[in-house]
């Protein structure tokens, strides 16, 4: 228990250090990933990270052959990683110039072959008398738990540079992602901006290698932005939320792996991100599944009510025969459950639910014989619902040349989204100069 508390309150120096490093990386990954998500080029991060491996291997070998023993200087290795990523992306571009090999195959080739070359280099390093590949494989799987202060300092500096570039060039990069052709037409240097964005991805890869390892860097580029999409629709807030979610997943991951032994920190960070994604997908304020379902549920309920009232009105119309619906007192005529079932394709259960809801709302009441009657309020609503429906049917028949036998279903769907001003426009269109309460004649009769 004390361990739990100790970790959570960040009393452990090591945990604080690791948290710092991974938080910044998470934020970076989220922000840059937001741009890549919009450009639909998330796989580029995967290629950049896999292609970094031979860069690391070569940097090590070159350093070792120049001055033995200095091969493992982090700066060198990370520079090599960056160079490897850049070379890989350039190669992918070259391969696509054949025009026979498309983007997906080119990226897949570079990803796997460069990684294979990296493996070969690592195995060569392994058998050098001076070296072991252990320090290098840390870059593949990450060594989040073993970050040093020096590592964290470099991560911090690099992250801040990346984040400030994103902030300064936000407008330009956003336009590039949304409408490249327009940006080019405005005279902006789209190729250079594209290059900038790619460099940012490479930078994020290099930053992320010590913490989550290069295999999982792409996860931090893909998952936070997709999760952030459920919280907002606007690009600025999306980028910020994405950064926050990335940092949050890093934090949760680091704390969880500090609490439970033998959990690989990198993998736990990614899985924490997945957990955040699931929560966002369900409960996100803009497009969360839960809110969407609730909204659909309440819309369905409202539609059911209006359909019921319209059906009642139509049944009543038939009962009163030639008399005008405006003059009669519609609240006095009983409607049986049987009639309602006949008129619509509802199941018994649904009918029961809808009737119960209508009674609760006060538009229908149950009379002594077990039949239903409209209340005054119910009559008003029923008139309006039927009028909307019939107006739309008339519009479809007269202006959209739809056969009368086919308008009912379409009108059924459209009538519920008719706003009052649209209804007025329809009336004007059909040149009706009528009293508001009057309802057009049923075209099916």
């Amino acid at each position: 228990m004390t361990n739990f508390v100790r970790v959570l309150l960040l009393q452990d120096y090591n945990t604080r250090l690791v948290l710092c490093g991974t938080l910044l990386f998470g934020a970076c990954g989220g922000v840059v990933g937001a741009f890549m998500l919009l450009r639909k080029k998330s796989l580029v991060g995967d290629v950049a990270s896999h292609a970094a491996l031979p860069g690391i291997g070569l940097a090590y070998l070159i350093m070792e052959s120049i001055s033995p023993g200095s091969g493992k200087t982090p700066v060198w290795l990370l520079l090599g990683a960056g160079a490897g990523s850049a070379a890989g992306l350039y190669c992918a571009g070259l391969i696509q110039r054949t025009r026979l090999i498309k983007e997906d195959a080119a990226l897949g080739i570079v990803l796997s072959v460069f990684f294979g070359f990296g493996i070969v280099l690592l195995s060569i390093v392994q058998s050098l008398p001076t070296g072991s590949a252990a320090g290098l494989t840390e870059f593949v799987f990450g060594k989040a738990a073993a970050l040093t202060a020096g590592d964290v300092a470099s991560i911090a500096v690099a992250s801040l540079i990346v984040l400030s570039i994103c902030a300064v060039a936000f407008k330009e990069l956003s336009l590039l992602c949304f409408d490249e052709a327009y940006a080019a037409a405005l005279g902006w240097p789209t190729r250079q901006l594209d290059l900038l964005l790619t460099s940012l991805v490479v930078a994020v890869t290099v930053i992320g290698m010590p913490s989550v390892g290069l295999l999982l860097v792409v996860a931090q580029l893909v998952i936070p932005p997709t999760a952030a999409r459920f919280w907002t629709d606007r690009h600025g807030p999306l980028t910020i939320v994405s950064g926050v979610l990335g940092a949050l997943s890093s934090a949760i991951g680091v704390l969880a792996s500090a609490l439970v032994p033998r959990l690989a920190a990198g993998a736990v960070i990614v899985l924490a991100g997945t957990g955040i994604f699931i929560i966002s997908m369900l409960f996100g304020t803009r497009r969360g599944v839960v809110w969407h379902s609730l909204g659909q549920f309440s819309a369905r309920r409202r539609i059911g009510q209006l359909d019921l009232l319209r059906t009642c009105f139509e049944i009543l119309e038939q009962s009163i025969g030639d008399a005008s619906p405006v003059e009669c007192d519609l609240t006095a005529i009983p409607i049986s459950r049987h009639q309602l079932l006949d008129a619509r394709t509802w199941t018994e259960a649904r009918l029961r639910n809808v009737l119960a809801a209508a009674q609760r709302d006060g538009s229908i009441r149950l009379d002594a014989d077990g039949n239903f009657r409209l209340t005054v309020e119910g009559t008003r609503l029923a008139r309006r619902a039927t009028r909307n429906h019939r107006l739309w049917e008339l519009y479809l028949i007269h202006f959209a040349q739809t056969a009368p036998s086919r308008v009912d279903r379409e009108a059924d769907e459209f009538e519920h989204v008719l706003e009052p001003d649209l209804v007025e426009q329809l009336e004007v269109l059909l040149e009706q100069d009528r009293v508001r309460a009057r309802v057009p004649v049923n075209p099916h009769a």
């Binding site: 998500l37 639909k40 998330s42 796989l43 995967d46 896999h50 070998l61 070792e64 052959s65 391969i95 054949t98 026979l100 090999i101 498309k102 997906d104 195959a105 990226l107 897949g108 080739i109 990803l111 796997s112 072959v113 990684f115 294979g116 070359f117 990296g118 493996i119 070969v120 690592l122 195995s123 060569i124 058998s127 050098l128 008398p129 494989t137 593949v140 799987f141 295999l215 999982l216 792409v218 996860a219 893909v222 998952i223 997709t226 999409r229 459920f230 033998r262 959990l263 690989a264 990198g266 993998a267 736990v268 990614v270 899985l271 991100g273 997945t274 994604f277 997908m281 497009r287 599944v289």
Partner: protein
């Protein structure tokens, strides 16, 4: 250096042959479905599958170790008492059970991944590639986590996952024989892939190149997709133990891509991809044996016996080398061919421009002899123009004279043809496009080289056989006049 190479190669042992054979069989088995993936632009699927099956494979390993504990599955270190055929049969059934367990694990994992991806797409209304990215990276992370957690129980280490264990799997032989289990597994997979692709060749073709037509004829696209995906997944699982999760992607895509560069015909492409895969694998192992020593000697000055490089990695790199060779040297689509074609075109254009320039000079001299410039040659010619001029002289189209070059009779015919094209095009543009007069020349300068005789005749007919162009110059008669 070459003798060094041969010397290193001389340590080739029996086990090396088995390693090379295993690698080759794995590569060939992967190349067959992989070529289809490349053609269908679904290479990403190979990447996604190899990431997504990881948790399933790890769980399968766990399951197998549990089964070994309770005795359902024979302990691999257990020495069998059977002999001869019985022992081989026992070995084969062990292989079958192991592969079966792995395949079931991977299949479940793959199905879960596909379902989740579909769910995220539908419920979350997320775009397809983003949904796949989220699901597959999460599952890969889960797999890595499980490996770390259960490393000791599952006989699996993270490195093995990534790049396989080709060198040591060669030692896992079928009881009583020298044949590694991996050989049997991959050979079996190769056979299955070959048979299925042969059987369903028509369906695969139809669905790949015209899915709508196939659907109209009753071939459900979903079935073909599912079938190919399952086949790919099975192949990935079979090759997994040999080359690991990442390099199997190379084996799926690179041979197919190489074959695509070499030919446009589908059956040839499939055959070539298998050949390329096999060559890449064997050569890869050769280089894995020889390369480290060379690197040490020439890079570090060390001359000692060193460990071989990773064979699987080297196989991927070598196959890539074959791919790059195809990209550059392919007779149909190679960059070398493209460059050559472009050079030939530039030469033709330079020749025609020279001829046209001479014709115009002579025309100007005829029209206004006193004011035309007396130039002997084009000053400061580029290399290309020099070649062009030489070839014109050689072919007798121009004559070198004291006062400069002049057109011979055949040269004049060709020059006249070119100038006719130029001026016809200017007339055409002047009539149909709303351009000022000084905008016509530049475009016509480019288009004139690409108007063949039929097009020329069409233009002349359309313009009612004009005699002057918009600038007032005479349009020369065509060769038919």
């Amino acid at each position: 250096m070459f003798s060094e190479f041969l010397q290193r190669l001389s340590v080739w042992e029996g086990i090396d042959t088995w390693i090379a054979v295993t690698g080759a069989l794995a590569a060939m088995a992967c190349a067959l479905p992989g070529t289809w993936l490349v053609l269908r632009r679904q290479s990403l699927l190979g990447d996604a599958l190899s990431h997504a099956v990881l948790p399933g494979i790890v769980l399968a390993y766990l399951g197998m170790s549990w089964m070994e504990e309770i005795g359902w599955l024979a302990d691999p270190s257990h020495v069998s008492s059977a002999t001869g055929i019985g022992r081989v049969a026992e070995g084969m059934s062990l292989v079958a059970r192991r592969q079966g367990a792995l395949f079931i694990g991977a299949a479940l994992s793959g199905v879960v991944a596909a379902l989740l991806s579909e769910l995220v797409q539908r419920w979350g209304r997320v775009e397809r590639s983003a949904a796949m990215g989220v699901v597959f990276t999460s599952m890969f992370a889960l797999g890595l986590l499980l490996i770390r957690l259960f490393a000791d129980r599952a006989h699996l280490d993270p490195g093995c996952v990534l790049y396989g264990n080709l060198e040591t799997t060669a030692f896992d032989t079928i009881g009583g024989t020298m044949i590694p289990q991996a050989v049997v597994v991959n050979a079996g997979m190769l056979l299955i892939n070959g048979l299925l692709i042969l059987l369903f060749f028509k369906e695969l073709c139809l669905n790949t190149f015209d899915p709508e037509l196939g659907a109209a004829q009753g071939l459900k696209p979903g079935w073909v997709s599912l079938g190919l995906m399952s086949l790919t997944a099975a192949t990935v699982v079979a090759a997994f133990e040999s080359v690991g999760a990442i390099l199997v992607i190379a084996m799926l895509i690179v041979p197919g891509a190489t074959a695509r560069m070499l030919t446009d015909r589908l059956p040839t492409m499939l055959g070539l991809s298998v050949i390329v895969a096999a060559c890449g694998a064997v050569l890869g192992h050769v280089f894995a044996l020889t390369l480290p020593a060379m690197v040490y000697k020439y890079g570090f000055g060390l001359d000692q016996r060193v460990m071989d490089a990773s064979s699987a990695g080297m196989m991927a790199v070598t196959t890539f080398g074959l791919f790059m060779m195809a990209v550059i040297a392919s007779p149909r689509h190679g960059l070398g061919r493209v460059w050559l074609d472009r050079l030939r075109l530039q030469l033709r254009i330079a020749r025609e421009d020279l001829l046209g320039g001479l014709y115009r000079r002579e025309e100007a001299a005829v029209e206004s002899p006193s004011t035309s410039p007396q130039q002997s040659n084009i000053p400061r010619m580029s290399l290309l123009q020099w070649f062009a001029r030489n070839s014109l002289i050689r072919q007798g189209l121009i004559q070198v004279g004291a006062a400069g070059d002049t057109l011979t009779s055949p040269g004049t015919t060709e020059a006249r043809n070119l100038v006719r094209s130029h001026r016809l095009w200017e007339s055409y543009m002047a009539r149909h496009f709303d351009l000022p007069d000084d905008h016509l020349h530049a475009t016509a300068e480019q288009v004139e080289h690409f108007l063949g005789p039929e097009l020329q005749a069409e233009l002349a007919a359309e313009l009612d056989q004009p005699t002057t162009d918009p600038h007032g110059k005479t349009i020369p008669h065509g060769s038919e006049n």
